[in-house]
């Protein structure tokens, strides 16, 4: 469907995590700080996986379109990465 779900998940956790981490550190709450840190880490991993998949999809798209122009044939590639 043209949307890699790991990107919004990663982004959301990367926004929420630092908020909790900062609050936990400022207010001396280890629970908030640890949970925030874990969320930030998880968000970062999801974001990295999503971005990597997107990069590899766009590079394969570019190579397939150059192949197509070289052989003068029409081709379409799937950009569906979920």
């Amino acid at each position: 469907m043209g949307l890699d779900i790991r990107l919004p998940i990663g982004l959301m956790f990367c926004l929420m995590g630092p908020l909790l981490l900062g609050t936990g550190l400022a207010e001396g709450s280890p629970l908030s700080a640890r949970t925030g840190g874990a969320m930030l880490l998880f968000g970062g991993v999801m974001l990295a996986l999503g971005l990597r998949a997107q990069l590899s999809a766009s590079s394969s798209e570019a190579s397939s379109s150059s192949d197509a122009s070289a052989s003068s044939s029409s081709s379409s590639s799937s950009n569906e990465i979920t």
Binding site: L3, P8, L19, E80
Partner: protein, 539 residues
């Protein structure tokens, strides 16, 4: 005057809630432009990978039942509540993945009722579609009610405002992005639920003195911290259930009835790319499902161990009370967002299943047979709208029960238990006829409702509402099974040619060339080993 559950949210809590809402609505908005046909809106175009459909399969079931209901049950019935996972879910999830999914997916039916039309006839499909539509609206109402009480008791908002506001959010993203939006949000909500509630279980167990502390504190109530050793007699456990009722009622009828036939969850698997992915969907969901008692049941046990007083003796308040007690600023916003996520995933799951069944199995089948694709898309969107509106009405029915879980098991007993008998006979017995299926289903649903009426007026008594729900399900299942068999035997056997691909014995097995770690059987064995070990540990 603020009640015992009232909390004051600070800026960081509101910020976390705001981020959550922005992403949920943003996903719906982003997917809106891809919803050009009815199939894209209602069936996700059958293009989603199995790790996503697997988590959505689990998350659609992670509604109010899973968090508020199970935490409340942990308080009321103790660790035996884990039976809803280890006995009442995993075996059925493995069964549906290995044996039933190839028929659902392979038949190219767009819904569970449509499979019944292919296997039996139009009237059986109509009855199932109608009963399922009623069930989804009632279940959606439960989720809405759960959310409303959270807003009311924790934030002091009016219950009516809370219902309308939360309904509007779910409506927005399901209306815009259809099933895909619902599935994608369910995955996002799954992770939020885990991060929102896992810390609660950890700090709760620490506060109660660890697991041994919980066992010591609950030693005076028999059966609170064991799952099998206390299940031999009704007097040995707070659930008031014994081995037969547990295994037959929960472990077989209710569990298989829900996981193997409820279109809410089957729909997620049917959105997969191919049959192996559809088979892997429930198996991928089964592993986190096996571990979920630690996230939702254990907090209920902690509340019981710490003897936390429940306002109005409502077990559904267990989780909000624990959030208030253990969560500081920031975490409170996260906990509330997780509660919202559970409510929304449960409600959106029901609404998207409802709009598909309404569009294909009622509107296209009975109201407008030759409807164009655009008309179906419009109907699907409209069904989303009035499915939410109908859910608002049913939310108020829940107030009559002191536990969400008891109410839900009662509904499953009415609708899912008999349909499981119909599927069992339909998929695995070629002699079953269309008339047998229809009259069996009709009698099964009626028997379940009659059992409830007879019990309500006091002719039958059970030790608990849960025991009554289990036995009600057994009555509905057995009635449907027996009537289906008798009516089928009285009629002419269906032609075998028409049953190919729909009945197990008449469908050739496909030999899939997959690496061992991608084979559905491998995942099934892994999950079953984990569940056996968990049962052994908490025997």
């Amino acid at each position: 005057m603020p009640g015992p559950l009232h909390v004051e949210l600070r800026l960081v809590d509101w910020a976390i809630l705001g981020i959550y809402f922005a992403f949920v609505l943003g996903i719906g908005w982003r997917l809106k432009r891809h919803m050009r046909t009815a199939e894209e809106f209602l069936l996700s175009g059958r293009s989603i990978p199995s790790w996503i459909t697997g988590l959505a399969f689990l998350s659609a079931n992670l509604g109010a039942l899973e968090v508020m209901g199970m935490a409340g049950n942990g308080y009321k019935y103790g660790l035996m509540t884990a039976h809803f996972y280890w006995v009442g879910a995993i075996p059925a999830m493995v069964f549906v993945g290995l044996f039933m999914m190839p028929f659902y997916y392979g038949s190219r039916a767009r819904s569970v009722p449509e499979y019944l039309r292919l296997r039996f006839d139009e009237k059986t499909r109509g009855l199932n579609a109608l009963s399922f539509a009623v069930l989804t609206v009632l279940m959606s109402g439960i989720n809405m009610y759960a959310m409303a009480i959270v807003f009311e008791v924790m934030l002091g908002w009016s219950i009516h405002t809370s219902i309308l506001m939360s309904a509007a959010v779910v409506l927005a993203y399901t209306y815009l992005g259809g099933l895909t939006s619902s599935i994608y949000n369910e995955v996002l909500q799954f992770f939020l639920i885990v991060f929102g509630f896992a810390p609660l279980a950890i700090v709760g167990v620490e506060a109660a003195g660890g697991w041994s502390g919980i066992e010591q504190r609950l030693a005076h109530t028999p059966g609170m911290t064991a799952i099998w050793s206390s299940a031999m007699r009704t007097t040995d456990n707070p659930m008031g259930i014994e081995l037969f009722g547990l295994l037959m009622g929960l472990g077989f009828v209710l569990s298989f009835g829900y996981w193997c036939t409820d279109f809410l969850v089957i729909q997620r698997a049917m959105a997969s790319r191919d049959i192996p992915s559809a088979q892997r969907t429930p198996l991928i969901a089964a592993l986190p499902k096996a571990l979920f008692p630690f996230v939702v049941v254990v907090p209920g046990l902690v509340a019981a161990a710490l003897a936390i007083e429940l306002p109005g003796n409502r077990y559904d308040y267990t989780l909000p009370l624990l959030l208030k007690r253990f969560y500081p600023t920031g975490m409170l916003g996260l906990g509330l967002a997780a509660l919202l996520a559970s409510f929304m995933s449960g409600m959106a799951g029901n609404v998207t299943a409802f709009n598909t069944v309404w569009t294909y199995d009622i509107y296209q089948a009975y109201i407008h047979r030759g409807a164009s694709d655009q008309a179906l898309l419009r109907t699907g969107r409209l069904a989303t709208l009035w499915g939410v509106v109908a859910s608002i009405g049913t939310a108020y029915l829940v107030l009559r029960f002191d536990s969400l879980m008891d109410y839900m098991q009662l509904l499953f007993g009415f609708f899912n238990a008999p349909i499981f008998a119909t599927f069992l006979l339909g998929m695995f017995c070629k002699r079953t006829t269309a008339n047998g299926a229809f009259y069996g289903l009709l009698c099964g649903i009626s028997a379940g409702i009659l059992h409830h009426v007879v019990r309500s007026v006091g002719f039958i008594r059970y030790p608990s509402d849960m025991a009554a729900a289990f036995y009600g399900a057994i009555v509905a299942f057995v009635t449907c099974f027996v009537v289906t068999v008798l009516v089928s035997l009285a009629g002419r056997a269906p032609a075998e040619e028409a049953l190919r691909g729909l009945v197990y014995s008449l469908t050739p097995r496909q030999q899939l060339r997959l690496p061992w770690h991608l084979r559905p059987g491998t995942a099934a064995v892994a999950v079953l080993v984990v569940v056996v070990l968990l049962n052994w540990r908490f025997f």
